[in-house]
């Protein structure tokens, strides 16, 4: 059965698209048939982060409006053959998505044998974000260690608990995961950044991963290769760990301390 996972945040620019690309790719690399859907209508970006921007012909809205079929619109990833991208449209109005339309696409994807459907949510708490989270079985609440991001994440948790299909129909609640991104252990130690424990205390949901602030993320987006491929980098490894946890493996959190030269290789025999 297909699992629908929304990557959401409320606040903009916290790393939803980066995380959708990395985690979706990570799941596919482990052999799971995965599709990442860009719900950011009008502000398509996932295609660039995935490096498939020049292969977009039809998009999500075309499928919903019946102007193309699903097969034509899905972009098959060039690196992993279990991975597909459904791009957002670039020009149409934001109200192009309807619940019925989205529901139909998700059903068809499940029928195609997709195991994971990752929904990259737009920022905000309006229609677009609601549409992205409505059908979710699980939610990856992407948060930066910063006051406005944490507050917005809490509002999104409120939405998940009241506005999702699972909430409306009184089903088992959406499974929530906290993904703390752009974490800077040095600043946490100095006392000028909220720590993992602080954010967990406030939001009170289980942690999926902590992604350090890393130059590897910009490098990855420059080249259109999700950062999880950069297995030498801290962010790449942190995303790989998060993927493991998402599929139920136990993994201790890493990269919570400033990196001490040499310690890493001594501990892990690098």
């Amino acid at each position: 059965m297909a699992k629908v996972i929304v990557v959401t945040s409320g606040k903009g620019g916290v790393g939803k698209t980066t995380s959708s690309a990395a985690i979706g790719t990570g799941l596919a690399l482990r052999g799971h048939k995965t599709v990442i859907i860009d719900f950011d209508i009008g502000l398509r970006n996932l295609d660039l982060i995935m490096g498939c921007e020049r292969r977009v012909v039809y998009d999500f809205v075309n499928v919903i409006k019946g102007e193309s079929n699903l097969k034509q619109s899905l972009i098959k990833d060039k690196r992993v053959d279990t991975l597909f991208v459904l791009p957002a449209s670039q020009t149409r109005d934001k109200d192009a998505l309807s619940k019925e339309g989205v529901a139909k696409v998700l059903e068809d994807l499940a029928e195609e044998g997709f195991e994971f459907i990752i929904c990259d949510s737009p920022a905000g708490i309006e229609t677009g974000a609601i549409m992205a989270l409505y059908f979710a079985d699980e939610a990856i609440v992407t948060t930066n260690p910063e006051v406005s991001s944490v507050r917005d994440s809490d509002r999104i948790l409120g939405m998940l608990a009241s506005k999702s299909k699972r909430a409306e129909q009184g089903l088992e609640p959406v499974k929530e995961h906290l993904l703390l991104t752009r974490y800077n252990p040095e600043r946490v130690k100095r006392g000028d950044m909220l720590s993992v424990e602080d954010v967990q205390d406030i939001l009170a949901i289980p942690i999926l991963g902590v992604i350090p602030e890393s130059p590897a993320v910009l490098k990855a987006s420059n080249s259109g290769e999700p950062v999880i491929y950069d297995s030498e980098s801290d962010a790449g490894q942190a995303y790989a760990d998060a993927v493991s946890r998402l599929i139920g493996e136990e993994m201790p959190l890493r990269f919570l301390e400033e990196e001490k030269k040499g310690l890493f290789s001594r501990l892990f025999g690098g």
Binding site: V150, R151, R155, G158, G191, D192, L194
Partner: protein, 86 residues
Amino acid sequence: MSFFDYFRSTKEDNSAQTAKERLRIIVAHERNQRSGPDYLPAMKQDILDVIKKYVEIDSDQVNVSLDNKDEELSILELNITFPDKN
């Protein structure tokens, strides 16, 4: 650096602690509002309109909050700051 300097500097520098305290309060407040019944905003507006019939008052001088103490007991708190008589 003296013993006291050490304390002062850590206290001043620890803006993360301040952030956490502020978050704790605002998040609790907003959760409480969310958990309120759907009619609460409309009821607040009605109460405000009634008061305005008698007293000239700004919206931000009226604070209506519903506190769910437990399953059995909810307290509706109405707090009005009247303007100066003169």
